[in-house]
Symmetry: C2
Subunit: 339 residues, 2 copies
DNA sequence: GTGGTCAGTGGGAGCGTTCCCACAGGCCAA
DNA sequence: TTGGCCTGTGGGAACGCTCCCACTGACCAC
């Protein structure tokens, strides 16, 4: 190990700069009412001493921690395995870092969820909370807000909960995909929808139905199959769709993984993509570029979502009273060889 | 929002319990020299007031933060997409939570890596560092230790760096897999190895070669192909191996994703698994259970690895002088239908 | 009795900030 | 000249905790 570094304090900085503690503090916090001369002297002293404010002392005095919690409930822990959420975390990390905030990761165990939650509420070790949630019925946001901590929910949030949130515009994305299929001349457009109890599930279906209606096409129950966002479920859903008659000439899958499963089923069945049937996914996950054929899909930007979540939370922390509208991030279509 | 909660202080707890601040503090920190009577009174007061120590004040006084950083370098950010690392993070989160430590996530940008690093060293906002690293040449551990902060590296660490680490016993796992193939009567056992510049790559190859030697079988260069741990690379490597003659009767893949690719290539080529050729993977990733046929593979426990990393770091924090041996976690074979 | 030890206790000091108040000095209008 | 204001400044106080020292009163051995 190394010699313990004697961290300089504000007092030493002030002394070296030949000013008072107050003035030095004002410089550091960028407040007005400091002469140019004093400011320069303090800045020089800071640089020379390598001074960095002691966070604990600051937190003690200001009652703020400059830390933000990212809460991932146990049931959502698999998010780490999903590239989409990995991207969100990356965006969050970058944005918080740029804002000088620490990211405290909280993996809440279901069993001790209440306890864990109360802990960081009571200890007030964070100034705000970011929540990654998949489920409609999650009561967490409300509970956190009850304690006076700002919360922003990201990804697949339930708009019904009155909470600040950022989400991909699933409806618009699905419309984009279906409009593309319609525009390519397809008329019997099937869908492999996600679970209706997830926002991503039902709102993508909603967009699908809306696009069909807008094109004057009927929404045919025979062309709707459901999956659970897993590859295997996409495979079996596609098999089921192939048995319907007349067979669909296109299929919109609510995510890329199910689309990959569908491609597999089509391949097994000897159906040509995109000649016999066009396939479109949603998410633009890494897998989309490496399927056979490469998948046309709706692109969403997880990093942007993470950044937006942070921006919204910082705004909420700065001004808790003004209500903020939920933010829907636009999507765009990436056309590859499957359509 | 809600009425701002007036957090009780230690003073109020002491007053209510009818003792001095010192006694109350002793009770809270579990120190001896407190009468049973006083202890009970303080504990009752704590419960009644819902007192929780102020972390900032404690940190200011003790110079410790009770927080641990998990550093993920940008080049490793994709770890989030990997189930294995997701599991590690889960294990780390659980173990730190149980130890009453906060997990501060640091996604170090390559561009500002030095700055970010120095930041949390200087600010000493954490008491220790956990590092998830894939690359052999990473200088981070040394740099962090230079500043007197304990570090534990997890996953694919380079044993050559003199740093505390926890890793899966890749050599032993690979031996297990190959011994299983040998035991099933296979003689021309190929391997799809990972990149030699990753520990997981070369040490699994090492185990493969060692097991062959131990069985008196030659290590035939014609039976060795390389991939990059991605599915596509496994597919093309398998195709290459099929062209060698005589064809292998078994193949050990350095991870499950490449094994999945290999299965795909075999399926395309009309080769029966396991009748014509046996396939074994490494990792026991979720995908292993859903391939066709389900994959025999070497199981490793990422959660355990995360927990071990935390245990080692806590030990290092408690006693920085005693050197700790690197910890190799055992693996076990999971036999499914592909062998 | 006296002196020592020792469990148990109370409270001062100080960790490094920020906030705020007091105040110096310059300037302008009366 | 006097009063008022306004910019810039210094330093006391406090945030809530832990550490440590001083102290009390039992208890024991002499």
């Amino acid at each position: 190990m190394i010699a313990p570094q004697p961290r300089p304090t504000l007092n030493e900085v002030a002394a070296r700069a030949g000013v008072g503690r107050g003035t030095a503090s004002r410089v550091i916090n960028g407040q007005a009412k400091v002469s140019e001369q004093a400011r320069e002297a303090v800045e020089r002293a800071i640089a020379e001493l390598g001074y960095v404010p002691n966070r604990a002392a600051r937190a003690l005095k200001t009652q703020r921690t400059d830390a933000v919690a990212l809460v991932i409930a146990e049931s959502e822990e698999r998010v780490f395995g999903e590239p989409f959420f990995a991207g969100i975390v990356r965006g969050i990390g970058a944005a918080l870092g740029a804002a000088g905030r620490q990211l405290v990761l909280l993996l809440a165990q279901a069993s001790e969820r209440r306890g864990t939650l109360d802990e960081f509420l009571t200890r007030q070790h964070v100034d705000g909370v970011l929540l990654l949630s998949l489920h409609d019925d999650d009561q967490l946001p409300g509970r956190i807000r009850e304690h006076g901590l700002p919360v922003v929910v990201g990804g697949r949030a339930n708009p019904a909960l009155e909470t600040d949130f950022v989400d991909v515009d699933n409806v618009q994305g699905a419309r984009l995909a279906v409009e593309h299929l319609v525009g390519s001349g397809h008329r019997r457009i099937a869908t492999i929808a996600g679970p209706p109890d997830m926002v991503a599930g039902h709102s993508r279906y909603e967009g699908y139905a809306a696009a069909l209606e807008a094109a004057g096409l009927p929404v045919d129950e025979a062309l709707v199959a459901h999956g659970d966002f897993g590859q295997a479920s996409g495979e079996s859903a596609m098999r089921a769709l192939l048995e319907r008659s007349p067979a669909p000439d296109a299929v919109f899958c609510a995510n890329d993984l199910m689309a990959a499963g569908a491609l597999r089923a089509l391949n097994d069945a000897g159906v040509q993509v995109p000649e016999d049937i066009a396939v479109v996914g949603f998410e633009d996950a890494p897998i989309a570029a490496s399927t056979h054929p490469p998948l046309t899909t709706v692109h969403q930007s997880p990093e942007e979502m993470g950044r937006e979540m942070v921006a919204m939370l910082l705004a909420a922390m700065a001004d808790p009273t003004t209500p903020r509208p939920g933010r829907m991030l636009p999507t765009r279509l990436v056309v590859r060889a499957s359509s």
